[in-house]
């Protein structure tokens, strides 16, 4: 796991209309599942194309297994891609599609046929070997695209939003299957998605991208629990961000205050000093609502609406200065506060994150 397979060193790329990528660096370990997460236009697809060789960077290096591949054409790289649109060859049947990478590399027919059969079995598509791509459903095409990319036994598999075109049900199922496949084969995956849930479910590490840079690189847990920037906090999951001044910091806990009142946050990892401003991020499902004041917190709020959300109740409130806050609570609908009620917002300090600011130390 610790051996570095792929190393991107300070990659920049410009298509003539401003930087698409500016100084991206990334180490991917052998067997790791790394996801590039970001909204469209953040440079994630360009990063992937630079790894596959379909695009060359303006500056920086692509190193695979210690070998500089920056100037190698795609056909000379031991890397295969699952394209967003699948890109199955419409004039070849399933079998020939999967065999293509083996054929061009000159594998003998018998061995190639065995390998194709093995790949089709792996993605459970054996009985479709003779079908044409146009006769397959989206999910089936997806499987063939994966089988085709895996057949030449790449050291690294690149997946460009492979599940983007599938409906939710199928997407969830394929997430599990892909993850299982990756573990079973031990192949390193670099995966692209704009779906944060997908990224969190599948990845060993996530790189959140924005404007051609990595906003944060870390495990799903780190990204979710300890977002480094406001952008990450807002992009991943639903949360409330509160800005305030630190009034007390005793090493493990800090008390922060703003016009809405004061609140407590875990400061173990954040080295906060009294008097500075900071942003606090609280996840919607960790925000709690109390009918009575809570010790250490004085965040009174007025309930705007409570709505049943399937298994939980979403309570929407306004703080004193009008800041809108949402909280996912375990109430039954009948017990939930009504619009106009005064409630007190609080949370477990260990579950609130300090983001950004000069004080961020981790």
């Amino acid at each position: 796991m610790q051996e570095v397979l792929l190393s991107l060193k300070n990659i920049s790329k410009n298509f003539g209309e401003g930087d698409v990528l500016s100084g991206v660096s990334l180490d991917v370990h052998k067997g790791e599942f790394v996801t590039l997460l970001g909204s469209s236009g953040c440079g994630k697809t360009t990063t992937l194309r630079i790894i596959s060789g379909l695009e060359t960077p303006d500056s920086g290096e692509v190193i695979l297994n210690g070998q500089d591949m920056t100037d190698l054409p795609p056909e000379k790289r031991p890397v295969n891609t699952v394209f967003q649109s699948y890109a199955l060859f419409p004039h070849m049947n399933v079998e020939k599609n999967v065999a293509y990478g083996l054929k061009v590399r000159g594998m003998d027919k018998k061995a190639a046929a065995d390998r194709v059969a093995q790949m089709l079995e792996l993605v459970q598509m054996s009985e479709y070997a003779k079908r044409m791509p146009s006769q397959l459903s989206g999910g089936q095409r997806q499987r063939i695209a994966i089988a085709r990319a895996l057949a030449p036994q790449p050291q690294l598999l690149l997946l460009d939003e492979p599940l983007g075109a599938l409906d939710l049900q199928l997407r969830r199922q394929m997430q599990i299957e892909l993850k299982r496949l990756q573990k079973k084969l031990g192949i390193t995956f670099v995966y692209i998605t704009h779906d944060q849930e997908e990224a969190i479910n599948m990845s060993d590490r996530i790189a959140v991208m924005r404007g051609g840079k990595f906003e944060q690189l870390g495990t799903p847990e780190e990204i979710y629990d300890r977002p480094k920037t406001r952008y990450v906090a807002q992009f991943i999951g639903r949360s409330t961000i509160l800005t305030g001044r630190v009034v007390l910091a005793d090493g493990s806990l800090a008390v922060v205050e703003n016009e809405n009142g004061s609140f407590t946050v875990d400061a173990d990892y954040a080295k906060m000093t009294v008097g500075e401003m900071c942003d606090i991020c609280v996840r919607t499902e960790r925000m709690r609502v109390s009918r009575t004041p809570v010790e250490g917190f004085s965040l009174p709020a007025t309930v705007r609406e409570a709505r049943y959300a399937g298994g939980s109740v979403m309570v929407y409130v306004n703080l004193a200065d009008g800041t809108e806050v949402a909280a996912e609570c375990g109430f039954r609908m009948a017990d939930a506060p009504k619009a106009g009620d005064t409630v007190y917002m609080h949370w477990n300090p260990a579950q609130a994150a300090v983001i950004g600011g000069a004080s961020y130390g981790a």
Binding site: G53, L54, P73, V79, T81, F89, V104, R148, A149
Partner: protein, 288 residues
């Protein structure tokens, strides 16, 4: 549902109304003359295609002569060469036009389309001036010291072929261009990704996927090329083609029956090529 059907029916009726003038046009100006030609080819020499004319196949039997056969072969050979040269030049042209940037695309498209607005006859006379013995091309070649004596271009088979290709190549470029334009080039990237070099990716992916355009272009060039004869006449050299033969039968010999029979053979040949093309899965070219 019932309402939908009713709507569709009234739509269809309205559409039929729009189609009527075109159908009338086709029947009066295309189908009827063809029937007349067919009829004329099936009656005895010197007779018109009227009631009571004597039916005969003699006009067709008359065509089974070695020199006529040679003329047909001349035409087919010239059309094949024309198609081949048009393909060799037209496909890359169409390909790069489809892959070029916006500005280049517009410019190249103009270069293909504009000649359409001028009479082919006028443009071919232009070529004739360029190619003549004391014309600009010879002058340039002499100036560059490449030749000491003027080359006699006109009258050569090459000059006829040049004129043919020049007139027909748009019909090759446009379908090739549209086939390349429609193609999803992610597929080429996928082939590269799987280990093909650019040449192999072209042969394995681009070529088969643009084959419909290539076939359409070949039919669109070949079929009219078989019948064209005035280009060879203008360029000189005395190459006799089916067109010359038909014209001579109709206008010089005044044997309308034999001329009609020749026309029918030409039409059936063209239709045969088109049917073969459609049979092999070719796209509708809007011909029939």
């Amino acid at each position: 549902m019932a309402r939908n059907t009713a709507l569709r029916r009234s739509d269809e009726r309205r559409n039929a109304l729009f189609v009527l003038p075109m159908a009338l046009f086709a029947v009066v100006l295309v189908a009827l003359p063809l029937v007349y030609v067919l009829g004329t080819s099936l009656v005895e020499s010197g007779q018109d295609f009227t009631f009571g004319a004597a039916f005969t196949l003699d006009n067709y039997k008359k065509l089974l002569r070695a020199d006529y056969l040679k003329v047909f072969l001349n035409s087919i050979q010239l059309a094949l060469y024309t198609t081949l040269v048009s393909l060799i030049i037209g496909y890359p042209f169409g390909y790069f036009m489809a892959r070029a940037g916006r500005r280049w695309k517009a410019l190249l498209m103009m270069l293909v389309i504009i000649p359409f607005w001028t009479s082919a006859l006028v443009r071919i006379y232009g070529w004739k001036i360029l190619l003549q013995a004391n014309g600009p091309i010879n002058a340039v070649l002499r100036g560059l010291g490449l030749i000491d004596k003027n080359i006699k271009f006109l009258g050569s088979y090459g000059s006829v072929l040049l004129a043919m290709v020049y007139c027909m190549i748009s019909f090759m470029i446009l379908p090739c261009h549209s086939a390349v334009d429609k193609m999803d080039f992610t597929l080429v990237e996928a082939a590269r990704d799987l280990g093909s070099n650019p040449a192999r990716a072209f042969v394995d992916v681009t070529l088969p996927l643009t084959m419909p355009g290539i076939l359409a272009g070949c039919v669109l060039v070949f079929v009219p090329s078989v019948g064209i004869f005035y280009l060879a006449d203008i360029m000189g050299g005395g190459l006799v083609l089916v067109g010359n033969l038909i014209r001579d039968q109709l206008l010089k010999v005044r044997d309308w029956n034999t001329g009609s029979a020749m026309s029918m053979v030409l039409i059936i040949m063209s239709a045969g090529v088109y049917l073969l093309y459609r049979r092999s899965g070719g796209d509708d070219l809007g011909v029939f």
